[in-house]
Amino acid sequence: MSIQIELANVEKRFANAVAAIEGFSAQITAGQFVALLGPSGCGKTTVLRLIAGLELPTAGRVCVGELSAAKRGVAMSYVFQEPTLMPWANVLDNVALPLRIGGVSRRLARTSAQDALAAVGLFDRSNAYPTELSGGMKMRVSIARALVTRPSVLLLDEPFAALDEITRHRLNDELLGQWSVQLPTAVFVTHSVFEAVYLSQRVLVMGGRPGRLIADLPITLADPRTPALRLDESFLRQCRMVSEALEQGKTREVTL
């Protein structure tokens, strides 16, 4: 499998000279679902924004496909922690937006947006405005918008952190269903060990300040993942393994 995303010895300092991440290296192969796990403030979002090309590294290299991330040679989508919908536009036009920006005609963009909405079960809410939707529905719209361009790289920044647990579990399953259809390279930022293990094929554990990679753990669970898995012995075992890696990061932080 070809390398889709490569971060080589990346450092990011902000204007106040505080380093958010330091010496961060990772390679992600095409079509892989990777979870980026760590405590708040360890630079997970910064890593995601670097991959998206929304930030530039102060040292090191971030490549997506053949080019550096900032050149955006590869179709990427980003799902924020908030649904980040345009309140003045209805659901259909919100989902059609990335295609419209890409120069697709209004009619074609709307047709594709309708398909994307059908895939998240919101076909009948096309004409609703974001204020008329629940938090879970808004997030589904946000995911439909991210997938409407059929991106090669899908970046998700704690998209379900603000939702209740039942909705979160359901959206986790829906996201996996969507992912298995399009198979983009997915990077999912979360601070939930269970979510990371349930969703991904590989967990990158971050920790420390400035943030660095402290563990790179493969997840070996049968696909497709089903809700029954949450009580499965091997799922819980791997959750423990990831939790221990996270704890080790903390203790190392203390001893340093």
């Binding site: 924004r49 090309g53 929304l54 955006r72 924020f80 003045w88 937006l97 419209r100």
Partner: protein, 261 residues
Amino acid sequence: MIAPRRAHIWVPGVAAIGLLIAWELVVRLRGIPPFILPAPTLILTTLWNNLDSLLASWLFTIKITFGALLLALVGGVFLACAFALSRTLELALFPLAIALQVTPIVAIAPLILIYVESTTASLLICAFIVAFFPILSNTLVGLRSADTNLQDLFTLYGASRWQRLRWLLGPSALPYLVAGLKISGGLALIGAVVAEFAAGAAGRETGLASRILEASFRTEIPKMYAALTLVVLTGVAIFLAARVFSHLLLGRWHPSEQSSN
């Protein structure tokens, strides 16, 4: 307390009618002469008797007011967009806009009247100067307050400047623009009336301010009130129109319009 249905219509209506009845009663019972304070019924009959001249003046004032408001809307929005796209342009021209805003219109009006030949045009310019600043500054703030995540999204998908302006910055600025328009609507009327006072114009092509001036020279107090009534009605109508406009543009999605119903 729970407000009854349609309270927002009949409560102010009843209050206004009550106030007018009280006014009428005070004037009649205390025998106040009409050259000091005319009763509402006398103002109404004066309005009726002078309807032809007052209506023509009213139309003229409305023409100036809405002409100036339209110019302010177009000019204010255009300048705000230009400022939002170019920081240099804003640095160069914004102080000028502020200078124009803080100078009292009665102080500039005589100069404009000298430089501009047509009285109608100079009145239009004066009313425009008063009305355009709230639209400019509000729209500019609105264009700058687009959601940062949405901004990032537009960057990620490689949006052009024009796409960003049309699909993100413009709609984000709309609630601010409407708020500016509500202020500017009233200011345009004030500008139109004040400029006409400064011009001291007489003749056929003149507005309500000239009628008020004329009546005051002849101490026709009821006629002053009659003209003033039309000015007030115009102002209230502009305010209500701005409310309807705001509801049409923002009613479906903006929080400012969600709570009022």
